[in-house]
Symmetry: C3
Subunit: 208 residues, 3 copies
C-alpha cells in the first residue's frame, strides 16, 4: 500500500472534487439571491478558482481550458444543487467531509505540480495552499464579502501543516506514496479536530 | 453579402467598442464619486477587462499591452464622457444599442480566437461570453458591488444563446460569414426583447 | 554620480520595498480584525500584488514564484508588524517616506521591465504605475473596500508624472542614470507636496 499513491486516482478525484466544491458554491449563491447564471459563475469560481489562480501564477493555461469535463462537472453540480437543495441541506456533515478530503488532495496535487515545474519548495507550498483555498476567496470576492478564511477558519493552516510535512518527508527516504497519504491525513485530521473543538486563531486587533 | 463577414471590420469595430464601453464605465464611476484617476481605471476595466481575463486564461498577452490604440480610445472616452456628461445622459437608448452590438461582436470574436487556439468548443463558448461580459464584472468588483449580471440581466444568456447557435451552425455547411451575422443577430434580438419585455430569471432563494 | 544608476541597487531595494509594503499591509489587516493567516495574505497582496498583476499582463511568471526571498521578506514583516505594532504606530512619518521611495522605485523598475520586453512606451508607463499602486488595489479588494487610490490620493498621478518625465527624457541625450534619479525625484516630490498641502482632484459627480 505504501507504493500505491493516491496520485494514481487523481484524474477522477479531481473531477469529483470539482463537483463537490461546485455544489457548495451553488448553495452560497442561493443564499445571495443570485440568478442561475450568477450561481453558475459562483459555483465555477468556488470549484476551479484556486487551481486557476495557481496556474496563472505558474504561467500555465488552466486545466479546465483544455478539458471540458471540469466545466460539465460544474454545470451538473449546479443543476443537482438547485433541484435537490432541501436534501443536500441535510447532508452538511457529508459535505464537510467531502470538502475536507478535497482540500487535502488539492493541496498535495498543487504542490507536486509546482515542484515538477522547478518552483522552490516554499513557493510550492504556497501554490498548494492557493490551489486548495483560493476558490473560496474568489467566491467571497465575487459575492462582495471579506473572504471567510481570512477571519475564522483554521482551514488554510491545516493545508499549510500537511504541505509542510510533505516537504519535510521529502528530505527523508520516505516513499512518495506514503508521503502523500501522511500529508493528506494530517490536513484532514487538523481540520476535523479544529471544527470539533472550535480551534481558532485570535484575530489581530488594532492597538487601543 | 453572405461571404462578407463582419470579421473583416473587426480591427476598427474593436476600438470603437472599447470607446463605447469606456464611456459607460466613466458614467458608472461618476455615480461612485471617484476622482479622474479612479474613473479612468474603471473605464479601462469596463472596456478591456473581459478580453484581458480571456487572454490571461488562454495564456496570451492581452492585445492592449501590444497596441496603444486601445488605451488611447479609453483615455479619449473618459475625457468625452466627463465633458459631455449631460448630453450623453440623453442618449441612453443609443448607448444601449451600441453596448448591445458591442457584446454581440465581442462574443463571436472571443469564441473565434479561442477556437483557433485549439480550445474545445464548449470552453470557447465560455471564452466568448467572458470576453463580452467580464468587463462589467471587473468594474463592479472594483466599485465594491455584487456584479450586476449575477442578479438581474439576461445579458450573459443572450451571449450564450448566440454563441451556442454559432457552434451548432459550425456543424452544418453554413458559411462563416452567415454564421457570424446570425449569431450576432440572435444576441442583439434576445437582449433587445429582454429589456423591452423585462425578461428576467427568477433568483435562487434559500430554502425556507 | 550621473552614471551610478539606482538600478544597480535594485535587487536589495526590491526586497526592502517588499518588506516595508508588507508591514503597512499587516497594519491594515489588524484594523480589519483578520486572523494571522488573513493578515499574511493581505500583507503579501499589498507588497507583491502590483508586480504580480504587471507580470501576469506581460505573460511572465511573477518574480516571487522563482525567488523565495520575497515570500520570506513578507513573512518576517508580518511577524515584526504584529510584535512591534505600538512602536510602528509612532513611526508613521518614516513609514510614509519609505512607502514613497518604494512606489517611486517600483514605477521606474516596472517601466524598464516592460520597455525591455518591447512594450510600447505608453503601455510601459501604465505597467510602471500598475507595479507601484496595484498592490494597494488588490489589498482593498480583498478587504472589501473601494480602492482608496480611486478616491482620494494623488498617489497614482505622482507615478504617472514621474514615469512620463522618464519617457520624455528618453527622447533626449540624457543618460540612463540621471533619468532614473530625476523620475524618482519627481514622484517623491509630488507625493510629499500633495500630502503636505492636501492636494486632491475633485471627485466626479453625477449630473444633478
Amino acid at each position: 500500500m505504501t507504493e500505491l499513491s493516491p496520485l494514481t486516482f487523481f484524474p477522477a478525484i479531481d473531477v469529483v472534487g470539482t463537483f463537490v466544491f461546485a455544489i457548495s458554491g451553488t448553495l452560497t449563491a442561493a443564499d445571495k439571491k443570485l440568478d442561475p447564471f450568477g450561481a453558475s459563475v459562483i459555483a465555477f469560481a468556488t470549484a476551479l478558482g484556486g487551481g486557476t489562480v495557481r496556474d496563472l501564477l505558474l504561467n500555465l493555461r488552466p486545466i479546465w481550458v483544455q478539458d471540458e469535463r471540469y466545466l460539465i462537472a460544474v454545470f451538473v453540480a449546479v443543476v443537482v444543487a438547485v433541484v435537490f437543495r432541501r436534501q443536500i441541506g441535510r447532508l452538511r456533515r457529508t459535505m464537510f467531509l467531502f470538502d475536507t478530503v478535497g482540500i487535502a488532495i488539492f493541496t498535495v496535487l498543487g504542490m507536486e505540480k509546482a515542484l515538477r515545474l522547478g518552483v522552490p519548495p516554499l513557493i510550492a507550498l504556497v501554490m498548494g495552499v492557493v490551489s486548495a483555498v483560493f476558490g473560496g476567496v474568489v467566491r467571497d470576492i465575487l459575492c462582495n464579502e471579506i473572504p471567510l478564511i481570512f477571519r475564522r477558519e483554521v482551514y488554510a493552516t491545516a493545508c499549510l501543516a500537511g504541505g509542510a510535512a510533505y516537504l519535510v518527508m521529502g528530505l527523508s527516504p520516505v516513499g512518495l506514496g506514503l508521503r502523500v497519504w501522511v500529508a493528506i491525513g494530517i490536513i484532514i485530521l487538523i481540520r476535523v479536530l479544529a471544527v470539533k473543538y472550535r480551534w481558532a486563531f485570535p484575530n489581530l486587533r488594532p492597538e487601543q
